[in-house]
Symmetry: C2
Subunit: 617 residues, 2 copies
């Protein structure tokens, strides 16, 4: 891409720092920039309009913008967020923290006051009034892989390159502060002819070979193996390599909720979604009794001590994290996912595998057709919607009941999925839907973007729907209206508490209120309504923005949630009794056992209901 | 209030920690708690419903909730915000930072995971996935006067008391983390019979007397004195004392924009709003030539070096900050505003004052009546609205053109004013309006709450209007629709840049979309429309929520802004020339002179347009 970049873009020999940054983003395939204007970033924003095919999205607030940049990144592998000093960056920080927690590549550019004002500690607005200009930068460093402020004239270009490289290769947020007076500093455009070096650095071949040999040795011997695919496969662009692994081994393969979309769920080896103790019986049957588990693209740093109880049973667990790996209890630092996976593929000799494939039960059970006038319930809705998905779809689910419901579905090939299961910031999905919609439009094939969001969650970030309308984006929004925060009702077992309630909105008016003229808004209440909707081929086309309000009972949830939480009161009290018995035991054994017990009532995202029974230690 | 508190409330001898906190808040007059539910705070929220006259507001998102708690505090002197660990608290942090910057008393209660989970570093959702449970607490400490996590069984009650005392007396945010397993720890309710000690500690009478003697000596001699009233007067509840000072001296008195509402603007000594170089000529005439200026309740820590150029001319400037004082260049640490002001009143001998009052020009000039079909412009609207305000009103303005427009008005007595001039977070006013509306309703006299918000700013926080509807609150909302971010258009002098534009909403549908059934929504375009509105006695009554969309030209602004920014291009280039000349001079003199020059084009909130001409130092 790069050697003739200056020529291809007909750039002058000298460009500003602002232009340099934007061209670097463009080289990485970034065509949409998210954020809000502010006096300290406007000189940078002016330059966006001069870059071919680049768009300033102009979000409605900074948190939504951060969610949008995150959603965009989950499709494009990098997102760019621009905010202004103080108020802007702090409003976004929760969204950036989500990108950090969930390993999403993000470059957060913050327009800062001029260096002269900072040195003199002038009182500017958007400061805390104490002359401390570094405070926001300090705050950012806890949720960034790297932070930088461009104030050294000698290293401007190399520092920009470093920031972008880290954000892209580590798949984490990077904070890049630009004092407003630096934006127009002149650089040589020929620097753009040298592509960013995105290769993995500091490799150690000996370590890699030792690790892979050990992994393969365990894999060959295994009688009951399983592969579990997690989020970092998508983040690091390793869907193709993972597919090869699945093709070249006869093992049953599962995805985690955060790994959904990383795997072809139509593949004959696909066994379903692994959700720890909330998995379906067919999934647990395989995973719980595995003697070898290979987790590809593991996201969670304590994957094997918290939510995923398979670690207690599997003899051999291999975890390929984004930048390190674990085999049983041995840690291999600095072993990158991409390297490990490719070397496994290179060294894999399928003929040595002892395991002989067993039949995998089908994930989705056919459901009886209900009478048309039956009111909708979550279990049925999620069982039906799975048939409506199409290859290429981008499916986004909100933290809440939707995140559980989606695990019931078996995706067509090449379906992408976005959810924020670990960080779990309510309202995230609406911003992410905007970002994913921009990314989808850039793809040319214009895939459908389908959002499932609860009525409670929608209220946190609703105004971002307006940005979708502004840009003529065409997501299909399923508004799962169950009258408040149903997930919390279930979590806290206090379904009638006032704080679970929300103001009732006239949701079908949202699109026209935000200025939509070409749209589809409708409400479905019954089985008949819903079937008519998903059987209508016109509805399935993403030719305009659509919102379907799905009316659901307040105390209803997907079966995984219902079964675990509402029907286990008896089991819970039994477990509590056993926890009490454990108090007499020695501390280590106690903790280990209690974790095991608690796993029985903990979901993948560790909706920990057991704190009532935990005392301070 | 307190000695029989347990008896009065018929409390049992033992109560939970959660109840203890809420009763302490109630003792401080706090009856509304803002925030969102989350699993780690729900056990605390349950208890709100058991406290007499206490309400859980249930906001639509955490940033809005922080703004609301801030707005409530500006009326009640303390606000309470409850969020959940990680996602909740980080979403709120920009609002909390605003309270910190602007000296607003706030207690931010964060529901945290159980201590046992933290010690074991379990992976919980809403963590960064790295087992670091302290990260959010660390982040909070930069924008809090004090931070605490309740994990010591021995000091629970005293720590709660300490947090509340600091938040109330320092008028700053305090962060109070409560591990969810601590909420039900039992305390003796009799502790509530001992009132919080809100008295000022560590006084030094010698310092106080020395300072006040020096102040009075300068005051007595002054030929051209002035009093300027700033924000901390309201924050620290010193409106009555300030009134006495104004009564007992013949000096002309002014307020800053952030001090508006701290002073009776109908008083014959009132000279107008002091906005630095953007003040009206009548104000500058007095302040610029003063030989003694007493600033009561000064908020800005570098008040005299940045925006307020009077410091360069006045021989004697006295600044009474919230917790220290300055006389010329002498700093008196730990001298609290309340102490200093009361001692000045105690020692003041009015007969020694040399100054003889001069006539003060009237602030508001009568305007000609325009033809009814003339389209509205900001200058005219602000000149008219001033006559529509009433004693007791709470007037809230957004950062943007409204914050400038309001300075044109002369308030009736006892008008309160809320704006966020220093921190300047766009969208703040909508959340603040919710908080102020709750506070107003608690007052019994049910004063009007009047919000001025731009169409751009409204989009950031619009969903909080739904919370107003939910609770039957009745603010009167003037939606100043000038088609985008007008203040930014003016700031950046790039009026046609795309990033100033916003999606056009059908604003009159907002109230019904959010579920309002009893409301008034209308649009005004012309002088005739607007006069009919403000002359209609029915419209003036706050009997339901009202939204008036005021259509204004995109490039229009209140005169102070227009004159300074649009009409001073010539002056700007002259100043730039002089700045360039200064480069040759020595550094200190250069900086001093440049600050002076820059003051000519800087508003009170330091909308610093001069960074184009500043290079790095």
């Amino acid at each position: 891409m790069a050697i003739n970049y200056v020529y291809q873009c007909a750039l002058p020999p000298e460009i500003t720092l602002g232009h340099y940054i934007l061209h670097r983003l463009r080289q990485l395939g970034i065509h949409t920039i998210f954020g809000l204007p502010g006096e300290f970033n406007m000189p940078l924003l002016d330059k966006i309009y001069t870059i071919p095919q680049m768009v300033w999205a102009g979000n409605t607030n900074e948190l939504n913008a951060a969610y949008a940049a995150d959603g965009y990144s989950r499709i494009k592998r990098l997102g760019c967020l621009v905010t202004t000093f103080g108020v802007g960056e702090l409003s976004a920080i929760n969204g950036v923290a989500g990108s950090f927690a969930e390993h999403v590549g993000l470059i957060h550019i913050v327009g800062m006051p001029p260096i002269s004002a900072q040195v003199r500690q002038l009182l500017l607005h958007h400061t805390l009034g104490n002359g401390d200009f570094k405070v926001f930068y300090r705050l950012a460093s806890d949720v960034a892989a790297y932070t930088s402020i461009l104030n050294d004239m000698e290293t401007l270009a190399s520092e920009v390159d470093k920031c972008l490289t880290i954000a892209f290769t580590k798949q984490r947020p990077v904070y890049l502060g630009i004092p407003v007076n630096m934006v127009d500093v002149i650089l040589s455009s020929s620097l753009l002819n040298f592509p960013l070096n995105l290769d993995i650095q500091n490799r150690n071949v000996e370590v890699e070979e030792e690790f892979v040999a050990a992994v393969l040795s365990a894999m060959y011997k295994s009688q009951n193996p399983a592969i579990i695919v997690d989020a970092c496969v998508t983040r690091h662009g390793l869907i193709e390599e993972t597919k090869q692994l699945v093709e070249r081994t006869p093992f049953p393969v599962f995805c985690t909720p955060m790994g959904k979309g990383a795997l072809d769920e139509q593949h004959p080896h696909f066994g379903g979604t692994f959700v720890g103790s909330m998995s379906s019986p067919q999934v647990r049957e395989v995973v719980d009794f595995s003697d070898f588990i290979l987790v590809v693209g593991a996201l969670l740093s304590d994957f094997n001590t918290s939510s995923f109880h398979f670690a207690y049973r599997a003899k051999n667990t291999v975890l390929l994290f984004s930048n390190h790996a674990k085999l049983k209890n041995a840690v291999y630092p600095d072993l990158e996912l991409k390297v490990a996976l490719n070397l496994i593929l290179a060294r894999l000799d399928s003929s040595k595998i002892r395991y002989r494939p067993q039949k995998i039960s089908d994930v989705i059970k056919p459901k009886l057709r209900l009478m048309n006038n039956v009111p909708l319930r979550q279990e049925w809705v999620w069982s039906q919607i799975t048939n409506w998905f199409r290859a290429g779809d981008i499916v986004i689910t909100e933290t809440g009941t939707s995140a559980f419901g989606i695990n019931q579905s078996k995706f067509p090939s090449r379906t992408r999925c976005i959810s924020q299961a670990l960080w779990g910031s309510v309202g995230y999905s609406v911003g992410a839907c905007l970002g994913a919609s921009f990314a989808a439009r850039e793809e040319g094939s214009d895939p459908r973007v389908i959002l499932f969001v609860g009525d409670g969650a929608l209220q946190l970030t609703v105004q971002e729907v307006s940005t979708m309308i502004r840009w003529g984006l065409k997501p299909i929004i399923f508004l799962m209206n169950n009258n408040g925060y149903t997930i919390d009702r279930l979590l806290h077992k206090k379904s009638n508490a006032g704080y679970h309630d929300i103001q009732s909105w006239d949701n079908l008016r949202i699109l026209p209120t935000f200025g939509a003229s070409h749209y589809d808004a409708r409400k479905v209440k019954t089985v008949g309504d819903f079937l008519a909707l998903i059987e209508d081929p016109k509805f399935a086309i993403n030719d305009k923005i659509k919102m379907v309000e799905v009316l659901l009972p307040p105390m209803d949830a997907p079966p995984a949630l219902m079964e675990k939480w509402l029907l286990t009161d008896k089991a819970d009290s039994e477990i509590d009794g056993r926890v009490d018995d454990l108090h007499a035991e020695d501390n280590d054994a106690f903790i280990t056992k209690r974790i095991k017990l608690n796993d029985n009532r903990r979901s993948i995202v560790d909706y920990n209901m057991s704190y009532d029974n935990m005392d301070s230690v």
